[in-house]
Amino acid sequence: AQRVTQPEKLLSVFKGAPVELKCNYSYSGSPELFWYVQYSRQRLQLLLRHISRESIKGFTADLNKGETSFHLKKPFAQEEDSAMYYCALFMNRDDKIIFGKGTRLHILP
């Protein structure tokens, strides 16, 4: 069955430390992966997509088809990174998108 798994509900990291938010997916077709972020009292917004291979706000994510993962990484956490992060999978063959349950990132001062 298709699914997106974000194993951590809450991740606490000290400011300046590296951050890695895990995302694993299950899909037999060709996946398109995304990360969305929701800051406190703000709307859900697209952070980055794997096809763009871009770095946004210092975050990067690499699609690893062998490990079926799309982990979100940042070398040095900042307090403004505290937010809810969702990993999402677009299933090309089924024309649907599914989201993970989300990970709340808390940056400690």
Binding site: F34, R43, L44, Q45, Y86, G102
Partner: protein
């Protein structure tokens, strides 16, 4: 630009009733998609419309329906409400069909509570 606007912001209904939620996309955006977000979960895809045609449907019962108007605004209708329909309903818009599953612009949502 006001962004994606949704109305109402909050709604309380009882079981068995029906509800209509509304969404106005960003000006120039022709694609609208709807999501249900239950507390503690990620958004779950319900419908996607582009140029007034349904282009995608999630795993929701027929009690859920939607439509898109000539001005690209959209309505989500839910009939025979159940307690489990209590959730935040999000609308998102995109300019291009190719971006329909990469919605970049979400509304604040409508919080629906079923008593």
């Amino acid at each position: 630009d006001a962004g994606v606007t949704q109305s109402p912001t909050h709604l309380i209904k009882t079981r068995g009733q029906h509800v209509t939620l509304r969404c106005s996309p960003i000006s120039g955006h022709k694609s609208v998609s709807w999501y249900q977000q239950v507390l503690g979960q990620g958004p779950q895809f319900i419908f996607q419309y582009y140029e007034k045609e349904e282009r995608g449907r999630g795993n929701f019962p027929d009690r859920f329906s939607a439509r898109q108007f000539p001005n690209y605004s959209s309505e989500l209708n839910v009939n025979a409400l159940l307690l489990g329909d209590s959730a935040l309903y999000l609308c998102a818009s995109s300019r291009l069909l190719a971006d329909r599953y990469q919605p970049q612009h979400f509304g604040d949502g409508t919080r629906l509570s079923i008593l």
